[in-house]
């Protein structure tokens, strides 16, 4: 009753408002709406394998009925319902409903096609069939709303008249702060608008982002005040100009509304199309896009937030669906029997002819028609659809149980369980959190839907399937029927797993926790000008970088030399320094790993030396070069006293690779000592042995020469 009253007053005010605008031509046209009764995704699988999403009951009424009621009450006179998945079911439902009665103020046309794969396909079809004549309302079949859009419509028409059809779309948002229960985490958006014109300048989904970036060009619009809003909930209701359908035709790659919005914003300067927002403070408008949203919308409905769409209003005008409303938001339809000692605590809706046993405790739940519930049952946030049997001693928390499912004795369903159609569970089993049980085997799905599957594969799978067709009593109970669906079996890639999960993302209860933990404080500190790094240091770093990259990408030594040469010129480094730095860099290279024993160090260094020997040879040519190289070598080992044991091996290796000549090594050994420490270094036993060996070798070679 209330809804009708509201409807009249609204359409009246809407009409007068439009008259005020004086848009005679537009006004003559009846307001049209495009209702997309398909989600084009599989979020509600496996539930939607048996019933399309638009027909799933929410508060014991199919979701599409809420959408149609919203459209009708807002003054829409002609609605095109586009169906794809299970179109016949939707059609049958609508034909039975009040919308197809001759008395309905809203004429409903049902258009079905199996070819629709996205919203884009639907709108392209709208354009092809030229169904819309003026501005229309675009809405999904799973939107529950009581928003009065007449004001938004008026604003939209006004803008279109002023700006010569520049504004093509007005998106309707509901104000709702972050963390609100009815906010869908996946729909979390950040919107930058021009404060005066309410034009959208930037639109971005924020899921998983830590920093929000706004390109500067959006601030060049000449306005001096912008708003960045994170307190908006997308109601998925938009007012579109007829151009929207044309734009979808022109841009065949637009699949979703997000594609469209992004595309328009990017091309705003070229095409000049603008999108505006209308923000409503009161009113309710939410899309049931996952089960978590289903949960919160159901409880909002029972708590009368969607007034005048309340359970007792029976706006669908079905017989036997009327129910009584008593305090604590308890609704009972006719024929409900309640056993002795059973309590309906609060926010409970019970459908007709349902019987509930003794000593039950029910709160925040919706129970459908013709259900039978045993004794000592505890239901909290349970959504039980029609013809469900629940035996005694069952506990169900935040779960959905579809039509004709059966829960046997002593079963416990933990949070976020789903029992799809005709499933039997129990007895005496406890399902862990997030269990999804369906009569459809998870692998069946791929068979049905994957058109690209070859015949062979199908045969193989079929044999597979027959093997697995046995219900697993450990999973569903001794008498149970059904297969467990795992979230991961729905899709292959890990990224999609999140967004495909049936329940959706859990709202983050603590808004602080997600982003701030990992934030470092670094950039906040006052910038203390760092002393200018001197060129030699920079060069050192660059050489190190070059060699690292060379190793990773396997760059040839010639190219490395080329790069080092160009760096030499860039930083104005003398050849001597190049040599020394190069030697140091290579010798220090293994120290990137911590705590090396000398033997480990050698093991790491030798292959590097071998690899880069040509680089050395390119630089180490004259006698002086050798000495420079050796002095860098010495310097390095003076710093790394603990690695003296490795010194000889390295030197030996360099000698063997013909980087260093024996004569020069000997000269370095005899003359180079400059301090106590370097003298000490030369007393190293291994080194002395090596030198001795070298001297002998020289002698012998001299002898040979003679």
């Amino acid at each position: 009753m209330a809804s009708k009253g509201g409807k009249q007053s609204r359409s009246a005010s809407g009409l007068s408002g439009r008259k005020g605008a004086g848009d005679q031509e537009e006004e003559d046209q009846p307001l049209q709406a495009v209702l997309v009764a398909d989600s084009f995704n599989r979020r509600f699988f496996p539930v939607t394998k048996d019933q399309p999403r638009a027909l799933l009951p929410l508060g014991n009424v199919a979701m599409i009925d809420y959408t149609l009621e919203f459209l009708t009450s807002t003054g829409v006179q002609e609605t095109f319902v586009f169906c794809c998945w299970m179109a016949s079911k939707i059609k049958a439902h609508l034909q039975k409903s009040k919308w197809c009665r001759p008395s309905s103020p809203n004429t409903v046309h049902i258009i079905t096609s199996d070819l629709y794969r996205s919203l884009g396909d639907v709108l392209r079809d709208v354009d092809a069939k030229s169904l819309v004549r003026s501005d229309f309302v675009l809405v999904y079949g799973d939107v529950v709303s009581n928003i009065d859009i007449s004001q938004a419509l008026q604003e939209h028409r006004h803008r279109r008249k002023m700006d010569k059809n520049i504004s093509v779309m007005t998106m309707i948002f509901k104000e709702s702060s972050p963390g609100h229960r009815s906010r869908c985490e996946e729909d979390d958006v950040i919107v930058a608008v021009d404060s005066k014109s309410q034009q959208i300048l930037h639109y971005q989904k924020t899921q998983g982002l830590k920093k929000l970036q706004f390109p500067m060009n959006i601030f060049h619009s000449g306005s001096d005040e912008f708003e960045i809003r994170h307190d908006l909930l997308d109601s998925h209701i938009s007012i579109c100009s007829p151009q929207v359908a044309e734009l979808f035709t022109d841009n065949f790659d637009y699949q979703t509304r997000d594609d469209f919005v992004r595309g328009l914003l990017v091309n705003e300067e070229i095409l000049g199309n603008q999108i505006h927002v209308h923000v409503t403070k009161d009113g309710y408008g939410v899309r049931v896009s996952n089960l978590l949203m289903y949960d919160s919308v159901s409880s909002d409905l029972v708590r009368r937030w969607v007034y005048p769409l309340t359970p007792e209003a029976n706006f669908t005008d079905q017989e036997g669906h009327s129910c009584t409303y008593s305090r604590h938001n308890v609704y009972r339809a006719s024929g409900v029997s309640l056993g002795h000692g059973s309590q309906m605590e609060e926010n409970v809706l019970i459908g007709c002819d349902t019987s509930i046993g003794a000593n039950c405790y029910i709160s925040n739940s919706v129970i459908g028609d013709n259900c039978i519930i045993g004794d000592n049952v505890v239901l909290d946030h349970a959504y039980i659809w029609n013809h469900v049997h629940i035996a005694s001693n069952v506990e169900i928390i935040q779960s959905v149980i579809c039509d004709k499912a059966e829960v046997k004795q002593g079963v416990t369903l933990k949070k976020q369980c789903v029992l799809a159609y005709d499933v039997v569970i129990g007895p005496n089993i406890s399902l862990p959190e997030g269990t999804v049980v369906s009569m459809h085997h998870p692998e069946e799905e791929e068979e049905d839907d994957d058109e690209f599957l070859s015949d062979d594969a199908e045969v193989g799978q079929r044999s597979d399937k027959t093997k697995q067709k046995v219900f697993n009593p450990a999973e569903v109970g001794a008498e149970g029927k059904g297969y467990i669906w795992k979230a991961s079996s729905l899709d292959d890639t890990e990224e999609e797993e999140l967004s495909q999960c049936l329940w959706g993302l859990v709202l983050n209860p603590d808004p602080e926790s997600d982003s701030e933990d990992s934030e470092t404080d670094g950039p906040d500190d006052p910038v203390i000008p760092s002393p200018e790094m001197d060129d030699v240091k920079v060069f050192h770093m660059e050489v190190l970088g070059t060699l690292q990259r060379g190793l990773e990408e396997n760059i040839s030594c010639d190219n490395l030399v080329l790069e080092i040469n160009s760096l030499k010129y860039a930083y104005n480094i003398s050849l001597k320094e190049v040599m020394q730095i190069l030697t140091r860099v290579v010798l220090e290279y293994p120290f990137q790993q911590q705590h090396l024993t000398p033997s480990q160090y050698v093991a790491l260094l030798l292959p590097l030396l071998k690899k880069w020997a040509p680089v050395f040879k390119n630089y180490v040519k004259r006698a002086q070069d050798h000495l420079d190289c050796l002095s860098a070598f010495e310097e390095h080992f003076l710093e790394q006293e603990s690695h003296w044991a490795a010194m000889v091996k390295v030197l030996m290796n360099m000698y063997e690779l013909e980087i260093l000549e024996e004569e020069m090594i000997l000269r370095w050994f005899s003359q180079g000592a400059t301090g106590d420490k370097s003298r000490q270094l030369r007393k190293n036993q291994g080194l002395q042995k090596f030198i001795q060996w070298l001297e002998e070798a020289e002698e012998s070679s001299e002898e040979d020469g003679e």
């Binding site: 702060s177 972050p178 963390g179 609100h180 950040i190 930058a192 404060s195 924020t206 982002l209 830590k210 920093k211 929000l212 970036q213 706004f214 390109p215 500067m216 601030f219 001096d224 005040e225 912008f226 708003e227 960045i228 809003r229 994170h230 307190d231 808004p511 602080e512 997600d514 982003s515 701030e516 933990d517 934030e519 404080d521 906040d524 006052p526 910038v527 203390i528 000008p529």
Partner: protein, 453 residues
């Protein structure tokens, strides 16, 4: 004493060198009062009794002789700093740190405003803020500016100021020049303040209320040299950084030990306004909250809070360009109801004078002159048949017979020759304009002054 006032009057006026060549910015006459008189008057009106004035030696000397400044009843504690030293405003604050005993109100000498100062201070008090500042909608300059051809270029870089829904809490501050890669905001800030207004086209009045702790912080952190350029953006950013907020617990437990080891290690901590225990208790017990929409405590537990009061009405102008100077000369006199003609001025009765003109002390205005919408400084002589419209004439100027001066600024001690015709000109200090000269849209300054630029 709740707040100590600090007036920054050492600025050289680098954006209007033509005017400030001989007169320091703080002493430029506006409506025949030195510029720094206006902020002093603002402070006096709201009941300040003492002001610390940071200025140069030169200004200090001039102040001691200026009659208007002598009229100021507040006790002026003048601190002079080196003139050509590269001292920023934050450096100056650091310099006077020993004098600072309480929270401070810092303002610049070039601010002319009729703001209700309590608005800013109330924000500071009510939220126990670390900083509260004043901003205003940018003023559109309407007057023609000498030497400036065509419309003023709007290519100037804009400041982006982000405030919350109430328009008071300062959340974000950046200059367009630093935002080449686009504006970036942390999501956690958006979660706390889901509706952020980004405003451009605001001018910062350079009036800040700062906690004493901030001054102490400055003495620890020597790298910050300017209040506007470094300190304020730093404070704004720091509001949302984790360390300041999480320091709270530690704060409470080892409050005493901390006093002792207030070393440089935790100097960051100093700037977070530590709520007094009683205040904290009050906050815990009350159901008041600064925000709505989520269930977290007031201010989301943040200890460092910056607020801004944005004036949308009234005059708020910073005299730092020639255009602003001209504009403010037109507007400022309207703020004060004073006789427009000084009693000691000698004005011929046969002179047409608009009520919107101001004549300074000891002026001589001869017969058959016409003065409209102009300001004429002290000891200026205007001879017969002179027409002055829309102009600013400073002190000790001599205007010979038959001159026509329109839309011009004539600095002190200039002499305008007989029959000269000046339109939209700026005549520098002590310049002589030859008789019968006709000048339009020119800046006439001495050659030595030119060299400097």
């Amino acid at each position: 004493m709740e707040l100590q006032a600090v007036l920054m009057a050492a600025g050289g006026g680098s954006r209007m060198t033509d005017l400030t060549y001989n007169t320091p910015k703080a002493m430029l006459p506006v409506g025949n009062k030195p510029l720094m008189w206006y902020p002093l008057n603002l402070l006096e009106k709201v009941g300040f009794e003492e002001v610390i004035v940071i200025t140069t030696k030169e200004v200090q000397k001039m102040m001691s002789t200026d009659l208007k400044i002598k009229d100021v009843k507040m006790k002026l504690d003048v601190v002079s700093i080196q003139e050509d030293g590269d001292m920023g405003t934050a450096d100056a604050l650091r310099h006077i740190q020993p004098k600072i005993k309480t929270d401070i109100l810092v303002l610049s000498c070039d601010l002319i405003t009729d703001v209700a100062l309590h608005e800013v201070v109330d924000l500071f008090r009510a939220h126990n803020a670390t900083m509260a500042m004043l901003m205003s909608k940018a003023h559109e300059f309407t007057e023609t500016v000498p030497g400036q051809k065509g419309k003023k270029k709007t290519a100037e870089q804009r400041d982006f100021v982000g405030v919350d829904q109430s328009g008071k809490r300062l959340l974000f501050m950046a200059n367009e020049a630093d935002l080449e890669d686009g504006l970036s905001i942390r999501k956690s800030i958006m979660r706390k303040h889901p509706r952020m207004l980004i405003k451009t086209g605001l001018v910062d009045a350079h009036l800040y209320c700062l906690k004493k702790a901030v001054v102490d912080f400055l003495t620890e952190n020597k790298s910050i040299s300017s209040i506007r350029g470094e300190l304020v953006p730093y404070l704004v950013r720091k509001q949302f950084s984790k360390t300041v907020n999480s320091q709270k617990l530690k704060d409470d437990t080892d409050d005493q030990t901390q006093e002792k080891n207030d070393g440089p290690a935790n100097h960051e901590l100093l700037i977070s306004s530590r709520d007094e225990p009683l205040l904290q208790l009050a906050q815990e017990r009350s159901c008041w909250n600064d925000h709505r929409g989520d269930m977290s405590e007031a201010y989301h537990g943040g200890k460092l809070r910056c607020y801004v009061h944005i004036m949308d009405q009234g005059l708020c102008c910073r005299v730092n360009t020639l255009a602003a100077y001209i504009e403010v000369n037109r507007l400022a006199p309207k703020l004060f109801e004073e006789p427009s003609v000084h009693p000691s001025a000698d004005i011929s009765e046969r002179c047409q004078m608009g009520s919107d003109s101001i004549i300074g002390a000891l002026c001589h205005i001869a017969d058959k002159t016409s003065i409209k919408r102009s300001t004429i400084g002290n000891s200026t002589t205007v001879k017969e048949k002179v027409k002055v419209t829309n102009s600013i004439i400073m002190h000790g100027v001599t205007i010979e017979e038959g001159c026509n001066i329109q839309g011009s600024v004539i600095c002190s001690n200039a002499v305008i020759g007989r029959g000269a015709d000046l339109k939209y000109c700026l005549v520098g200090n002590g310049q002589h304009i030859e008789p019968e000269a006709e000048r339009t849209n020119e800046i006439i300054v001495g050659t030595d002054q030119l060299m400097e630029i």
